[in-house]
């Protein structure tokens, strides 16, 4: 096992790179290796994917080391098979460029892959970090400018932290009802 993987930092980088493959973002600093930097604005990592994965509520935390090691194993096999030379300074998966990360994750999440459920779970948690900020209170996340909620354009609540939309309707009939509608408004 390369030295990089012997530390928790190595595993963190692998999980970050995986989350970044699911919903990519811009590099957090110039030398950021885990985040591939293929998309403008933050991605799943900046959105808090690692916090969601590590949350006690989510139930993934006890499995994360093994999952990171598993990704590494697959990445090394993938590199050997495709004759990619890996950078010994970083974990194998982090060493892959974005298109190769994508190809490997496609393979791991394919309906025929025997371990797909584990890899899909990692992907699901990455998505809910970005789209829903599941690790933090939604009102606080919005106030703090959570990158995912921002990018999807999630509208903010009223001052009491509850959502209400006073204007919500075009306010007019926009189609003809089905001719067989019953008096109760149901299909016949």
């Amino acid at each position: 096992m390369p030295a990089a993987m012997e530390t928790n930092q190595g595993r963190t980088m692998v999980l970050e790179a995986y989350a970044d493959t699911i919903l990519p973002g811009e590099k957090r600093w110039p030398g950021d290796r885990a985040v591939a930097g293929v998309s403008s604005g933050g991605g799943a990592v900046a959105a808090g994917a690692l916090l969601v994965l590590r949350s006690v509520e989510g139930g993934m935390a006890p499995a994360l080391d093994a999952l990171a090691d598993g990704i590494e194993e697959h990445a090394r096999a993938y590199a050997a098979e495709t004759e990619i030379e890996l950078d010994p300074e970083v974990p194998a998966f982090v060493s892959l460029d974005y298109p190769d990360r994508i190809r490997l994750v496609q393979r791991l999440t394919d309906p025929t892959h025997p371990e797909r459920e584990a890899w899909i779970s990692l992907a699901m948690f990455s998505v809910i970090a970005f789209d829903a900020a599941a690790h933090s209170n939604t009102v606080e996340a919005l106030a703090a400018g959570h990158v995912g909620l921002n990018i999807i354009g999630f509208r903010p609540p009223d001052s009491d932290g509850l959502w209400r939309f006073d204007t919500y309707s075009y306010g007019r009939q926009l189609a003809q009802p089905h001719p067989d509608t019953t008096p109760s408004g149901s299909p016949a």
Binding site: P24, G59, D110, I128, D131, R172, G185
Partner: protein, 551 residues
């Protein structure tokens, strides 16, 4: 032998099937205990928050199976707390369906006409009202306008909603903060409590055994109120009658687990599961085309950008609910909202060069989330779902503290089901891609399989003992005194939202349960009014039930 509590009627689950039967039996004089695996929340407990551990995960159950994931309620009130409250009646042809068995799937005693008075009972109880175009949110209006533009009809869907209280916040899957959604917490359940019924939250039933007097002993565990994986207690209750209403994803599992003690179950227990033929498509709209083609614009001049605003599904097109079309080719299409997370992960990128559901292109798609519209197909599937061996407890292996679990349901869609989905996908595209309005892609089935919020038919009624677990009175074959009144009793896909039909069937089953309870010495009568005291629908059914009560 340890001493066990006892009651007349033990109800498992507090959704539609459980709340309705509990109310009528308690009001009729029976001692009723309801065991519910989820927590008991109301009003202010319902948070506007996606955080793990908020009401959005406490009240929800998401079970991943092989080829089918099932979403349900997990709280007092069951699915009524998390649902969207669209309550149409099922079209007439549905009751004539044959499905895979070469004969009518429904009992001969049930048709749209014979169910109508029971639908009326539910409509009075919740109550259910028609939705006006004035209260249809932008998303429903957009779907209606697109249907009209494509020469289709579209209807606002009747709903169990108090429009005056609704804020169109679209948080209804986390429970309604404003009591606008008329969940069972506002009608049947308080009325059941007022008549002495007991409801015990965080009590998960695991299996049943028999008692010496022909009744049943119900074995439960008590769950931690934060980490549902943790059991903090256990117990048993003896009952003369058991009403199983744990939902179509859970009821058959309890019966499977009880088989070693109760004896063989009917073949149809845990088979013939239907996902109500659900299928989802997401359209990504071009805002300018909305204005130019459909002439729509909000008061602030923006054409749409309003996916987040509203109250779930409000407008549907029923043009394909045509009884003269072949079976498996009939479906309704309904505009829908799913919050981020659930509602985004499976959406696919149109014309993707790379992966369709994740990656850089998916992230770009999310930037236009407010211009999305999700369309929900409810079609005639083939009852192809089968439950594997039951997990050690509950209905699935819980992975997270709340919500996420892995279950034993297998679902391999048949050619019939796939054909219905393909037809409906093409119809959605034809309506929504017309004149460049949007680009449409179905949700992927390659991540968590197909996806249903409408589990049905896993323990169904019917006339044929080989293909139905229950007789037409909802009594479990060969196990007298056990009744099943939830979505699992519905014979098959309904082509519309199912809760109204589940509820009507539960209402219809009550007189038979009353008769069975009386035969077991319980002093109970049928004839309670609606939970708020209304009597018109009750008076309409009384002449119909005399026979059942004399049995």
């Amino acid at each position: 032998m340890t001493s066990s509590e006892s009651t007349d009627v033990l109800v498992i689950g507090s959704g539609f099937g459980g709340a309705i039967t509990a109310y009528h039996l308690a009001a009729g004089g029976a001692r009723v205990v309801v065991l519910e695996r989820g927590p008991w929340l109301s009003g202010e407990d319902f948070e506007h928050d996606f955080k793990f551990g908020s009401s959005s995960t406490r009240v929800f159950d998401f079970v991943i199976g092989d080829g089918m994931s099932v979403l349900s309620g997990n709280c007092v009130g069951g699915g009524s707390v998390v649902y969207f409250a669209a309550m149409p009646r099922a079209p007439r042809f549905v009751f004539e369906r044959q499905g895979s068995i070469g004969r009518r799937m429904w009992p001969t005693t049930i048709s749209r006409d014979t169910l109508e008075p029971w639908y009326d009972r539910v409509a009075e109880a919740l109550p259910i009202t028609q939705t006006s175009w004035e209260s249809v949110p932008y998303s429903g209006g957009l779907f209606g306008a697109a249907c009209d533009h494509a020469g289709r009809t579209a209807n606002p869907v009747p709903a169990a909603l108090d429009q005056a209280k609704c804020t169109n916040c679209n948080w209804m899957m986390a429970g309604c903060r404003f009591d606008a959604k008329r969940s069972l917490l506002l009608n049947y359940l308080p009325a059941a409590l007022a008549h002495g019924a007991q409801i015990r939250p965080l009590h998960e039933v695991q299996h049943l055994t028999r008692t010496d007097d022909g009744g049943y002993r119900v074995h439960y565990t008590v769950l931690d109120d934060v980490d549902y994986r943790v059991e903090v207690g256990s117990g048993t209750i003896d009952a003369k009658i058991v009403v199983l209403a744990a939902g179509a994803g859970a009821t058959p599992v309890i019966l499977q687990r009880s088989e070693p003690t109760l004896g063989p179950m009917p073949h149809a227990v845990g088979r013939y599961f239907s996902g109500n033929g659900e299928r989802l498509n997401t359209a990504i709209f071009d805002e300018e085309r909305i204005r130019d083609v459909l002439g729509l614009s909000r008061p602030d001049g923006v054409p749409y950008e309003a996916y987040q605003i509203g109250k779930g599904p409000c407008v549907a097109t029923w043009d394909r609910l045509d009884g003269s079309l072949p079976e498996y080719e009939r479906y309704s299409l309904e505009q829908l909202y799913f919050p981020p997370g659930f509602g985004t992960i499976l959406a696919q990128v149109p014309d993707a060069l790379g992966p369709t559901w994740f990656g850089a292109e998916k992230k770009e798609l999310l930037r236009s989330w407010q211009s999305w519209l999700t369309i929900f197909t409810m079609s005639e599937d083939d009852n192809e779902g089968v439950f594997g061996p039951p997990p050690p407890s509950g209905n699935a292996m819980r992975l997270s503290q709340q919500m996420l679990a892995r279950g034993a349901l297998r679902y391999e869609p048949t050619e019939n089901t796939l054909r219905g989905w393909a037809l409906s996908d093409a119809e959605v595209r034809d309506i929504l891609e017309r004149d460049g309005l949007s680009r449409v892609m179905p949700w992927t089935n390659d991540v968590v399989g197909a996806y249903t919020v409408h589990p049905l038919a896993s323990c169904r009624i019917g006339d044929d003992p080989a293909t139905s677990a229950l007789d037409d009175r909802h009594e479990l074959r060969d196990h007298p005194g056990i009744f099943v009144t939830d979505g699992s009793a519905v014979p098959g896909g309904l082509t519309v939202n199912p809760a109204m039909t589940i509820a009507a069937l539960a209402e219809r089953a009550v007189p038979g349960i009353v008769a069975a309870a009386r035969a077991r010495g319980v002093d109970v009568r049928y004839g309670a009014p609606a939970p708020d005291g209304g009597t018109s629908s009750r008076d309409a059914v009384l002449p119909l039930v005399r026979g059942a009560l004399q049995r």
